[in-house]
């Protein structure tokens, strides 16, 4: 009895209340999104809001069970669960029927279930388990490679299921690694890699003016210039080597001046792209020379950066045109404003923005949304559920939801930080990161800032798999958190 009371007292009720608010708000939104004139009863099991109520109930049972289980259990099942999950993911590829082009749903009887949802949970546990093991150091390359493998394996299998959106979620574990000591440069390089990808796709696809004297690849040019400028930053960041900076600056300036003079003499002699390529190559060479002169490994890291940048640039074009599927290419182009196709790929995005935009400051009122109710917005109760919120509750409502997520994620970070064990902390950060990624990608997609990536908004989107998976993910952490007051000695 005492232990029982202790658990209840130690539960972080703030988080549970936020969870409850989200689930209820989500259910009301699904109700609103599915509401029509023929079905007005709240507990109509033929409608999705009726079914969602069942999922909420099931998820709550899971929550209670998870709280009842001993904390040690989670550590012990982490690796078996992960292995099981990897097997299940691979199995899924072969047994799952094709649903909208992907093989990610397992059908057992009347139930459909997406193992990818479970994969996040299993990976988070496994990651926490491995990274909290004795002597683990992320800076150790063996440890780092195993960590990368734990994250990368399910990711690759899910990509093989043609469920790219779910696979991308795993990229967010880089935030967990960062918290656990991953060199901050990786974060910057990661951000630069995304930036370079976007720049290459966007600017290489700009049509040239008809009177252009020579073919230009503005994407490459911009990326190489940024890379060379980043080189300056890296010189100061890693070495503070002023003499090297002088040489670096003079070399690049000379290349540009010479290039432009040549271009003035004869416009079609060389392209700006070529000048930037020469400047880029010269910069890389300089770092190589200085690595030898100064006998420094830091310079090698910069050279790696240059090589990866060049590789990324040339691979981006290729990958975009040859690896990505046409519908993915179009989704990306739509967000970049390269393609305007209100009937086709841009339709969802356009309609989503119309629905949200028409909500105004205060919204049209609960159940009064017209865009969502009349099916203008596709997937209005799943991936695009945020539209219904935007339309019916307006800017006030969307602001509330965004802030609710910020508070929720911040609370998780706060809880993670107060954990006594690295296992709980790493797991807590994983949970916070996963929720952050879903929040970031889902809303970003709905409001047209990111390409359409079909992942749900946790606790809002309709669906049993995601509701249960997210609840398990969260309540496992809430349970782990009940131990934060206990002494380390126990």
């Amino acid at each position: 009895m005492r232990a029982e009371q202790n658990i209840l007292k130690n539960l972080d009720w703030a988080t549970i209340i936020i969870w409850f608010v989200m689930v209820m708000a989500g259910w009301l939104t699904i109700y609103a999104a599915c509401y029509d004139y023929e079905h007005t009863r709240i507990f109509d099991m033929s409608m999705r809001y009726g079914q969602q109520l069942v999922w909420i109930a099931v998820a709550s049972v899971f929550a209670i069970l998870l709280i009842a289980i001993d904390t040690k259990f989670y550590g012990s099942i982490a690796i078996p669960l992960y292995v099981l999950m990897i097997g299940l993911l691979i199995l899924t590829i072969f047994v799952a029927p094709e649903v909208k082009g992907s093989h990610s749903w397992i059908q057992i009887g009347g139930f459909r279930f997406q193992p990818a949802e479970l994969a996040k949970y299993a990976t988070a546990l496994c990651l926490a388990k491995y990274m909290s093991s004795y002597g683990y150091n992320i800076k150790n390359s063996k440890n780092f490679l195993v960590t990368a493998l734990i994250i990368g394996l399910p990711m690759l299998i899910i990509i093989a299921q043609q469920e790219t959106g779910s696979a991308l979620v795993f990229a967010v574990f880089i935030l967990v690694l960062f918290r656990e000591g991953l060199d901050g440069d990786f974060l910057i390089y990661g951000a630069l890699a995304i930036l370079f990808f976007v720049l290459v796709i966007k600017f290489n696809n700009i049509p040239l003016p008809p009177d252009a004297p020579i073919v230009e690849h503005y994407g490459y040019m911009i990326v190489f210039i940024i890379a060379v400028l980043t080189g300056i930053f890296l010189i100061f960041h890693y070495t503070g080597d002023i003499p090297m900076f002088n040489v670096y600056a003079i070399t690049n300036a000379s290349i540009w001046v010479l290039g432009i003079i040549l271009k003035l003499i004869k416009a079609d002699l060389l392209s700006y792209t070529l000048i930037s390529e020469v400047s880029f190559a010269a910069s890389a060479l300089l770092f190589f020379i200085y690595a030898i002169i100064r006998r420094s490994r830091v310079h090698l890291r910069v050279i790696l950066f240059f090589i990866l940048t060049a590789g990324l640039c040339f691979a981006a074009d290729y990958a975009f045109n040859n690896v990505l599927q046409p519908h993915q290419q179009i989704r990306i182009k739509v967000v970049m404003g390269l393609e305007d196709d209100p009937q086709g790929a841009g339709y969802n995005v356009r309609q989503a923005q119309i629905a949200i935009g028409s909500g105004g400051l205060t919204g049209k009122g609960f159940l009064n949304g017209t865009q969502t109710k009349l099916n203008y917005v596709p997937e209005q109760d799943t991936d695009f559920i945020f539209c219904t919120i935007g339309e019916e509750t307006g800017f006030l409502g969307t602001t509330f939801i965004v802030l609710l997520y910020v508070v929720f994620i911040s609370r998780l970070v706060y809880l993670a930080e107060r954990q006594r064990t690295p296992f709980s902390r790493i797991y807590g950060y994983s949970v916070a990161s996963i929720f952050f990624f879903h929040f970031c990608i889902n809303i970003g997609m709905v409001i047209g800032l990111l390409p359409v990536i079909g992942i749900p908004l946790p606790f809002f989107s309709y669906g049993g798999s995601s509701m249960i998976a997210f609840t398990i993910l969260l309540f496992t952490f809430i349970k782990l958190d009940t131990r934060h007051t206990e002494t380390m000695a126990t």
């Binding site: 918290r179 000591g181 119309i354 994620i409 800032l449």
Partner: protein
Amino acid sequence: MRYVSHVHKEDYSRRQSVFIIIVVCVAIIYLIRLFHLQVVDPSYKDSADSNAFLKQTIYPSRGLIYDRNGKLIVSNQPVYDIMIVMREIKGFDTLQFCNMLDITKDDFNDRIEVIKDRRKNPGYSSYTPQVFISNLSTFDYAKVQEKLFRFPGVFIQQKVMREYQIEHAALALGYIGEVSQAQIDMDSYYKRGDYKGQSGIEKKYEELLRGEKGYEILLRDVHGNIKGHYLDGELDLLPVSGKDLTVSLDIDLQTYGEELMNGKMGSIVAIEPQTGEILALISAPTYNPSLLVGRDRSKHYGELLNDPHKPLFDRPMMAMYPPGSTFKTVQALVMQNQGIINENTAYPCSRGYAYGGRHKLGCHAHSSPLTLPQSIQHSCNAYYCWALKALLDVNAKKYGSTGNAYDAWFNDVCSFGFNSKLGVDCTNEKSGSIPSRKFYDRYYGADRWHSSTIISISIGQGEILCTPIQIANLAATIANKGWYYIPHLLKGVKGGKIDDQYLEKHVTNIEPQYFDVVHQGMLGAVQQGTAYGGRIDSIQFCGKTGTAQNPHGKDHSIFMAFAPKEDPKIAIAVYVENAGFGATWAVPIASLMIEKYLKGFIPQNRKWIEDRILNGRLISDD
């Protein structure tokens, strides 16, 4: 202590703030974006409305029109427009669609081209319904209706068009037509594709007849299916039907008059003197008002417009002719009023009036000298020349100058409603003209003109121009002995009233006692004078013939009359163009009209006259 090994590790807990900063940055970017989407940029709201709301206009039924005896003359019939929403017509079988509507593929493409052309169709939007074909009859609609479901983005809008129970009174009733861009710009009530009265009663009383449009706001889902009324129809507006009008026309008389005028050019205007109500308003040649309804409207309109006899020209209101001898009645009244002559004043006539030494204004053979009533009865030209000379030359000193004398005459003449629009409720009335003193001063020089200079105005020729409605009003004014109501077509409005200006008596400058002698002269004209051919045994009536000189061809025949002499019920003016002397055509036509109106039939002994008129053709058929 299991965890000691971790303690000496680097502490990265400060990195939690990096995590939080990333989260907050994303949230801020999203809130800015949301603020822009939801609060700043209104275009999303508009798109949403055009997506989801289908604001469908409900057209009110246009007011009906009855004649003075309560006969329905204009009513409504439903017609159907085929509307298309361009962005929804994807993927349907164009060929099948064309077959259904009995048009060719080229017609279809042309029509789509026009719809999309923003110059021809400035209100174009691919989201809103555009008229593809307008004015399908109920019969055509029935053929189309059952197949319509096959074509997404195509639907029917019902409208109401005019239906005419009669084939007459086209110009008086006017027609309704699609509003022009200029009309839309002027009055925001109208939207593209709306109809409004474009002439006649339909135009003049548009605001009474049209009612108020209503609308219903329907919810439309992504497939274009109607999902019911928005807010259960709370915001819908029911249309208000137009008001029914009773016009003063006696449609039987109108019909009869048009039949009499068949094959001739000219006008008949009949007025009820006591009220100013127009009993018949005939312009010949005319057309069947039903021609300007429905799908072939523009084709018919074009044909009417190009007809050399100008059936669209509203002769009673717009044709200005010299009034000829009918104007002698005005002269007789004004000259008496000015004290120049009295009923016993006699002037000689020797086949005309010689003036200015070498000139002579001719007259026909009759006894001489004549008194005032006799001058009207025989339509003596010389009499009025003498009278004008007496006014302008002999009595000039009394007024101070010839000019002043002319002014006195001018004011009296204008008090009959000449030289200005009467204010008839017809949209295209013309004012006619009586030359002013200024006009002659400018033309001849101040005080350098005399009676002989302007002698032709004494007999209603020269610079004087009057419309048939003005002459009919003259007849009514004489019948009333000096006053008139502005002639008007509107007799009553259901649930409303007619304009006050038509209830206001206009009194001329002429003293009532001067009219008896004119009545006497006009009675004489009918019974034994110039209008003898129009005599009706059982009805004593007064009339005056006239001939409007026509420099382009044969003169126009004019006759004005009122009947019966005592307590007149009808005043009438008949113009027959290129028919020569007034008595030949205009007199019998007026006489038949009077008899038809007062008795309701033409007795057997006068049928031969009727037959002659009905079969008389003064214009060629080509």
